[in-house]
C-alpha cells in the first residue's frame, strides 16, 4: 500500500518535472518504493530474500546515481540549464 503510493508519487514527479536533478530524485523515490515492497513481502512470509533483494536494489541505486549525477554535470557544462528539454539536439 505505502510502497504503491510512494511509487506513484515518484512516477508522477518523473512525468511532470523537467529539472534533471528532480528527475534523478524521483527515480530514487521509485527505487526506494520497490525496495520497500520487497522488504514488506519478505517480512510477511518470514523470508530473508526480500532483504537481499533490497540490498541489490541499494547497490544499483548507488551506481546509478553516481553515473547519473556525473552525466548531469556534463550536461550542465554544455548547456547552462538543467532543463531536460534542452537535450533535444539528437533528434533525427
Amino acid at each position: 500500500m505505502l510502497a504503491t503510493v510512494l511509487f506513484l508519487l515518484g512516477l508522477a514527479g518523473l512525468l511532470t518535472r523537467r529539472n534533471l536533478i528532480f528527475t534523478l530524485m524521483c527515480v530514487e523515490i521509485m527505487l526506494n518504493a520497490s525496495g520497500l515492497a520487497f522488504v514488506a513481502a519478505g517480512a510477511r512470509w518470514g523470508q530473508v530474500d526480500g532483504q537481499i533483494m533490497f540490498l541489490f536494489i541499494l547497490t544499483m541505486a548507488a551506481a546509478e546515481v553516481s553515473v547519473g549525477l556525473a552525466l548531469v554535470l556534463q550536461f550542465h557544462l554544455k548547456h547552462p540549464t538543467l532543463d531536460a528539454d534542452a537535450a533535444s539536439e539528437m533528434k533525427g
Binding site: N19, I21, L36, A43, L73
Partner: protein, 198 residues
C-alpha cells in the same frame, strides 16, 4: 506499534509529496531525507533492522551527500549570498524540521517501549540470517553487484574526466568537482561492499 508504523508512513508520504512539488532543489532534498528516515523506521518496525541501518547509512548518508554536492556545485556563484540569506529564514527549514521531530518522537517511544518486549508482529530477521543467505545461494548476485559498482565507478570517473581534456583550464574548478564526485561514488560503494561482508 501499528500506530507508529502508520504515523511514519504518513510522514513518508507527506515528505515525498513535498519533495516533488518544491521548486528549490535543496528544499526538495531536505524533504527527501526526511522521507528516507521515515521509511527506515518502517523497515525497523517490519522486523528488518539491518536494512533500516543500511537505508540510513547509504541512502540518507552517501547518496544524499552526492545530491547536495552536485546541487551546490551547479549554482555556485550565481546568487550565493541571496541563497544564504534565504536559508537562514525559518520558512525554508521548519517543514522538514517538524517532520523530523515527529520521527524523533517515534524513535524515542520505540526505545522506551523496547524494555516491555512488545513487537510489531512480524518476526525479526537478524543480519546473521541475511549474511548467510547472501553468501549462500545469492553469491553470484554479490559478484554481479561488485561488477556493477566497479562499472559505475569507472563510468563516473570517465564522465568527470572528459571535460579536462576537451575544454582546458577554464573548467578546472568544475573538473575538480567532478573528480570529487567520482571519489564520492567510491565512498558510496564502500558501505555497499562492507554491507555484503557484514
Amino acid at each position: 506499534m501499528l500506530a507508529i508504523f502508520y504515523i511514519s508512513s504518513a510522514v513518508a508520504v507527506l515528505a515525498t509529496l513535498m519533495t516533488i512539488t518544491r521548486r528549490n532543489a535543496i528544499h526538495a532534498l531536505l524533504y527527501l531525507i526526511v522521507s528516507l528516515l521515515a521509511i527506515a523506521i518502517d523497515f525497523y518496525l517490519m522486523g528488518a533492522p539491518f536494512v533500516a541501518a543500511l537505508e540510513l547509512i547509504i541512502y540518507a548518508g552517501a547518496i544524499m551527500v552526492l545530491f547536495v554536492f552536485v546541487v551546490m556545485m551547479l549554482n555556485i556563484g550565481e546568487q550565493a549570498s541571496e541563497t544564504e540569506r534565504e536559508w537562514l529564514r525559518p520558512r525554508s527549514w521548519v517543514g522538514p524540521g517538524l517532520l523530523a521531530v515527529v520521527l524523533l518522537v517515534e524513535v524515542a517511544s520505540l526505545l522506551s517501549l523496547r524494555g516491555t518486549g512488545e513487537r510489531t508482529g512480524a518476526d525479526v530477521i537478524a543480519s546473521k540470517q541475511v549474511g548467510i543467505a547472501l553468501f549462500g545461494p545469492y553469491v553470484i548476485g554479490v559478484e554481479l553487484s561488485s561488477l556493477l559498482l566497479t562499472a559505475g565507478l569507472v563510468g563516473a570517473y570517465h564522465l568527470g574526466r572528459k571535460v579536462a581534456s576537451k575544454e582546458g583550464e577554464i573548467r578546472d574548478i568544475d573538473t575538480a568537482g567532478s573528480r570529487a564526485v567520482a571519489r564520492d561514488s567510491t565512498v558510496s560503494a564502500g558501505p555497499g561492499r562492507t554491507s555484503h561482508a557484514a
